[in-house]
Symmetry: none
Amino acid sequence: MPAEYLLPLLRSDSQSKIVLLVMDGLGGLPVPPADLTSLEAARTPNMDRLAAEGSLGRTVPIRPGITPGSGPAHLALFGYDPLHYLVGRGVMEALGIGMQVAPGDVAARGNFCTLDTQGLISDRRAGRIASEEGKTIVEALQGIRLDGAQAEVRHVKEYRFALVLRGAGLAGEIEDTDPQVAGAAPLPAVAREQASQKAARLFNDWVAQAQKILAKQPKANGLTLRGFGSDPKLPTYQEAYGLRAACVAVYPMYRGVSKLVGMDVIQFSGETPEDEFAAAASVWGDYDFIFIHVKKTDSMGEDGNFAGKVQVIESVDQALSTLLKLKPDAIAITGDHSTPVPMRSHSWHPVPLLLWSARQAFPDNQTQFGERNCAKGGLGTIPATDLMPLLLAHSGRLEKFGA
Amino acid sequence: MPAEYLLPLLRSDSQSKIVLLVMDGLGGLPVPPADLTSLEAARTPNMDRLAAEGSLGRTVPIRPGITPGSGPAHLALFGYDPLHYLVGRGVMEALGIGMQVAPGDVAARGNFCTLDTQGLISDRRAGRIASEEGKTIVEALQGIRLDGAQAEVRHVKEYRFALVLRGAGLAGEIEDTDPQVAGAAPLPAVAREQASQKAARLFNDWVAQAQKILAKQPKANGLTLRGFGSDPKLPTYQEAYGLRAACVAVYPMYRGVSKLVGMDVIQFSGETPEDEFAAAASVWGDYDFIFIHVKKTDSMGEDGNFAGKVQVIESVDQALSTLLKLKPDAIAITGDHSTPVPMRSHSWHPVPLLLWSARQAFPDNQTQFGERNCAKGGLGTIPATDLMPLLLAHSGRLEKFGA
């Protein structure tokens, strides 16, 4: 029996409330002169109290040594192994810029490229045109109409865009049109299976119309499509865990991934941690599980801004009182991945994890939430996909397995 | 290659002796005022010496967050992943009350229920009749005779019983007869495959005869059967590890699970740890591996009896000298799962593990056997199924893999 079949079998009725608070890119590396990480340097009295009462540990987002993007990293935290539940890059790209990808839609990532007079690719990234230029070109493609589906195209950055087709009878098992080398012509979209043939034909129609519009562009006179995919039809939180789940997030990517697993996305105004915790409070009675996403820890890490990352963590800690007044039965505070300030990028390092429960967390003599304490914590270093079973256990939502 | 194929390939001849000492439900949570667990509070000079010379760690019985029953938890300690080797609940229930389940037998769990005048279930647990009453009713069912098999029925507790059929051509792929809701009639036993049709027909015969006997009962005038299953035909200890293995246990459940993996069950008188270690000593020359099971740590945990659990652990420690005089080459001391005193129930928490070997345990500077030291121990936190390979390695019973 695969392990993921186990949780639905063991489901126990409960009124308990679970909070998953994700500070994006939380994990860090120490920085001189104090040789502390941002999390270690931050004054976090609320989290430290939770650490003292609860357990610390670390999560490995994907596999050791693998640096995750935010999409797979969140899937893992939600309990879905991203190597098992493959979500097309096109879907993630579209979700990341706030496009809808509903069941039946097919999404793809697009690159503008430069074609020579024979139609062969001379630059796969269209000379890395500026974002402003890319945006203008994408606007010119908005008028494309298809017979049997609607196309939505949106600019991402520089030479990159995302394309979503919506209509009946579409599926996304389609080969990339990017030949991956200069000197070759863009390939047609070819379906890998019968069910995806209609979508492949429509993508080819769209590309043909786009080519005409782009023909006079000096650099971006061609395009390729990659990472075709549909909504991956993940088991929902209700199906997998019996949880009514809500998402409180400011950025579209995190709202999109939450929707993939059946969470309701809560609308609210403002974008501070205080605003987010207030939004959680406003729907507290309606849900069993609330996922709250704080973005700016990651942004500060990407910027190499040590003090900024400290400040964001401290602002979350201050606002935490609001959340704790709601008296969750179990709360996990962690990141989706590490974004160490000295690296200015996502990394593969295990991510600090704090697990607190009203009664049953094993105390491990750790009294401060920080990377090095987490490495010594009682939860050990665990796959991120183990967090959901632990949260369910600590909130009294799992029956015993076997007699 | 699945990892379980590896051990038989690497088997090395050895005269070494291995002891697996399981204190049932050993793991705990700290309790005020001293903020210690029972294991941490107990005076255990013998175990502490072994801890100092050996390595500490923790086992995860099934998967993180999953609270195990004793059956699957022991299978895991014996090296059989309970999610791979599924043992029917009926088999475990029968073993748990000391019934034999040999290859070819089919076992089921039974519930008495109350039927209304139309034959629909009005109470799935027959008003939770007292154990004395349930026992009397089961005795009335002893006379049932079947054409082509023998039926053994035995009372478990209150409204519950176990039923084992023995005969040629039986198999246990049979649907539950319990409709799981009141207001419905009990279902017939339906085979899921050709090979189980004879057994299904015999179970239905048995139920029909039982119904007549129960008809005049005020509460327990009906019954349902669940968890049909046969001996799961696990590889034996001899096949999997090349070990002649013996079980020293007082309670039938643990003897039964040991038999499933081909251990010989040692008969002995008394039921203290001292008696059990003496029993191990009496057969020491005949076996390579001895599993010794101490039940009362779990009972005390279930009773919420902190001092009682301390006392049981101390009594095991005192008796341990007897065992150590036999000079085992490797010894593991652990539990099958945690039964924390404040929870009064089995739990999902990782289980303390002490691994000592005559020469080769990695010392980890831990000098006291307790939950928090185990969390810092050199073995780390490992799946319970990893213990047997470690014991084989530490007793010189595994060759090198590859050149």
